[in-house]
């Protein structure tokens, strides 16, 4: 077994950022395995899971709705339930919301146009494992490319999430009509995060920004911690 932590990138029909995600995570020190949506189990040594961007199932019904019922999703849910880190990027975020693993839902951009450009984000909360390399108030530049990125939750839920630090990042301007300019949210236990911007496209300053690397490197850190914990459990069983 490689001493690099294993990150599983799930491939759905219509995923198109799976390879970029795999490349970036590899460059940041992870061993990456791509897992087909029809798989019933994740590899045993999985330290983190990424649901990549794309247009799974052609965005039929609602973006992410069909993929949220994919055969692999119960395994992802079980992994998250025991504290495993799960990151959903763009379509991955939509899938996690539709799977009700994250609060809210992503709706068509209010301007009804696809947005594809670098945006700046403000870090709102650093409590979750994904934000360990960032500071509150820090500004990150990461590209977005989506037609359905307007995050929505009803007002009661929104207030609750903000109070609990589950609103992780906001756009510094109105990008798509997202409620409260929300760009990223995390679940209550802080181990499942979704964001519309694409950190895997921002890991090298030659391409404009390396800020996305801060988020992905934190995920690789968390995967490594988890792998260590698993090793320790195995040793514990033996003695």
């Amino acid at each position: 077994m490689s001493d690099r932590p294993l990150v599983a990138v799930i491939q759905f029909p219509g995923s198109n950022d799976d390879r970029d995600a795999a490349w970036s995570l590899g460059a940041l020190g992870a061993e990456v395995v791509t897992v087909w949506h029809g798989a019933f189990e994740l590899p045993e040594e999985t330290g983190a899971v990424v649901l990549p961007g794309g247009f799974s199932y052609g965005d039929y019904l609602r973006s992410g709705a069909i993929a949220s019922q994919a055969l692999v999703m119960p395994a992802v849910r079980r992994f998250a339930a025991v504290g495993g880190p799960v990151l959903g990027i763009c379509n991955g975020f939509q899938i996690l919301c539709e799977a009700r693993m994250l609060p809210g839902v992503l709706r068509p951009n209010h301007q009804l146009e696809f947005v594809c450009r670098d945006v700046s984000l403000c870090v709102e909360s650093t409590e979750s494992l994904f934000m360990r390399r960032c500071e509150i108030g820090q500004e990150l530049v990461i590209p977005v490319k989506h037609g359905e990125g307007a995050w929505y939750a009803d007002e009661g839920l929104f207030v609750q999430l903000a109070a609990r630090g589950q609103i992780v990042m906001r756009y510094t301007e109105d990008v798509n009509g997202s409620l409260g300019n929300v760009a990223a949210v995390v679940n209550e236990t802080g181990n499942v995060m979704g964001l519309m911007p694409h950190p895997e496209h921002a890991v090298d300053s030659l391409l404009g920004s390396a800020d996305g690397g801060l988020l992905l490197a934190a995920l690789v850190d968390a995967a490594a911690d988890r792998t260590l914990d698993l090793d320790r459990d195995v040793v514990g069983d033996v003695t």
């Binding site: 019922q69 839902v105 709706r107 951009n109 209010h110 301007q111 009804l112």
Partner: protein, 90 residues
């Protein structure tokens, strides 16, 4: 009218999914603006979805239960959409 309890039959149904009241519907707004450009006087446009299904069910009531479950689990997102089940002829 009573129906035989266990015999499954094909029930036709239509599910209407609509954006909930108060939820912004940019698609509806764009269509409204377009209709106004054509000279129509339109107060509001909301765009939803029509889903026609044929389901196997033991009774109308059974079909309705199944369809409501389908709506809750996949056909509609309760955060932003409401749904209406209409049963057709059996």
């Amino acid at each position: 009218m009573s129906e035989p309890a266990d015999e499954a039959k094909l029930v036709r149904a239509t599910v209407l999914v609509r954006p909930k009241q108060g939820i912004l519907d940019p698609q509806g707004q764009a269509v409204q603006a377009s209709l106004e450009k054509l000279g129509f006087s339109v107060e509001a446009v909301r765009i939803g979805r029509v889903i026609d299904l044929e389901v196997e069910a033991r009774s109308g009531e059974d079909a309705r239960k199944q369809l409501e479950l389908m709506c809750d689990s996949l056909l509609a997102n309760p955060l932003i959409e409401s749904f209406e089940v209409q049963l057709g002829e059996t």
